[in-house]
Point group: C2
Chain length 228, copies 2
């Protein structure tokens, strides 16, 4: 034997792989999946078409990874916002909670705002993540993505219920519905064919809606009648 993969070559390999992913991500963020053809990705990454296939078994696999990377960034940001709200630290959160403060609502508002503002910043990418038609293989990843968002909300809602701040409800369900509501409200403004939006007004509406839908007053008789 003669050749042996070493740390340096492996690093180079990883580097190339990342370059490909970043190139694909850039193309998607710029022009959606339409523009993310294998040849174009390769060109942008400064490699040959065939090289892409040294790193990914298929285009679907590449796009799946791209989607995962992009979406995890977004989810992390929202998670961060949901953890603290506008508090400076976990410590402060605990303090307020023990004092009977209503931090859950604050945290939900912060998460929603982060979600929306980030999406409206990188519209093209947000559209790609939320609504653009994709290969079924990638669609599966999108489901994960949305579920991840929902999980963040679900945890926060569950906290709020535990502290008595929010009324009894199925946190997973409310969270899922909330993600759908936010997504739908954003899709219009995000759509490529859309004029300027009043971002602040949109965010305000979203927060109002979100808090309203997690915090009810007494249930009306209709619910009991119909849902019995």
């Amino acid at each position: 034997m003669a050749y042996r993969p070493t740390e340096r070559t492996e690093a180079r390999r990883t580097q190339t792989r990342e370059r490909i992913v970043r190139a694909a991500l850039a193309l998607v963020a710029q022009g959606g999946y339409r523009e993310a053809q294998v040849a174009a990705v390769a060109a942008r990454a400064g490699v040959a078409t065939g090289t892409v296939y040294r790193h990914f078994p298929s285009k679907a696999d590449l796009l799946t990874e791209v989607f995962r990377v992009a979406s995890s960034h977004e989810v992390e940001a929202v998670e961060q916002a949901a953890r603290f709200g506008s508090a400076a630290s976990q410590h402060e959160v605990d303090a307020v909670a023990q004092a009977g403060g209503d931090f859950a609502r604050e945290r939900i508002a912060a998460a929603v705002e982060t979600f929306a503002r980030r999406a409206l910043q990188g519209r093209r990418l947000a559209w790609a993540l939320l609504a653009e038609p994709v290969d079924p293989a990638v669609e599966a990843e999108r489901l994960q993505f949305r579920r991840a968002y929902a999980d963040v909300f679900a945890r926060t809602i569950a906290d709020g219920i535990a502290s008595g701040e929010l009324p009894e409800q199925d946190p997973a369900f409310t969270a899922t519905a909330l993600v759908g509501a936010i997504g739908e409200a954003l899709v219009g403004p995000l759509s490529p064919t859309h004029a300027g939006t009043d971002v602040d007004a949109l965010v305000r509406n979203l927060i109002i809606f979100s808090l309203r839908s997690t915090t009810d007053q007494e249930l009306s008789p209709h619910v009991h009648r119909r849902a019995a």
Copy 2:
């Protein structure tokens, strides 16, 4: 001149056209857009591939029409439910409204329930209408579809506000968010890879969520602080 299109031939033509649409619809309802290849549609309709192109300039046009037909059925049903709630007639609705009854909430609940139950009946079709990846041309139709749903809710909400039954809010916004919430809550259960769902529980949750999110209690300070 010699040949002249007559009533009879035109009727035959229309009939063929409809047969094609129905075949496409059936295929979509059964296996999604994957299965709705032009050749397959033609076969199912009992015509030749080329015939499809005597009636539709392109596949996208055909699918667009199919989508429109299917979605308008759904929207009509929901509209119907939203008009009367569980009342027997418009007359009764007016009577209750004049008596200060809270019919808007009832109507919303009815619309949501209809939406959800119908979707869960024809799962495959509902999935195709709500979430399955589609050709961008058809995607535009989907946007219309969702907007149509939203309009139904928006009108009902506006009525509720006018009668003082619902709090001041942007009906269009709430309606859009609501459609998103319902859609998202349904997508999971509708997904091809999904086990049995407790339909009643789901419907109950949806109604609760919908009423909650249209009917708030006093706004918390967070809204004012953040949304200022």
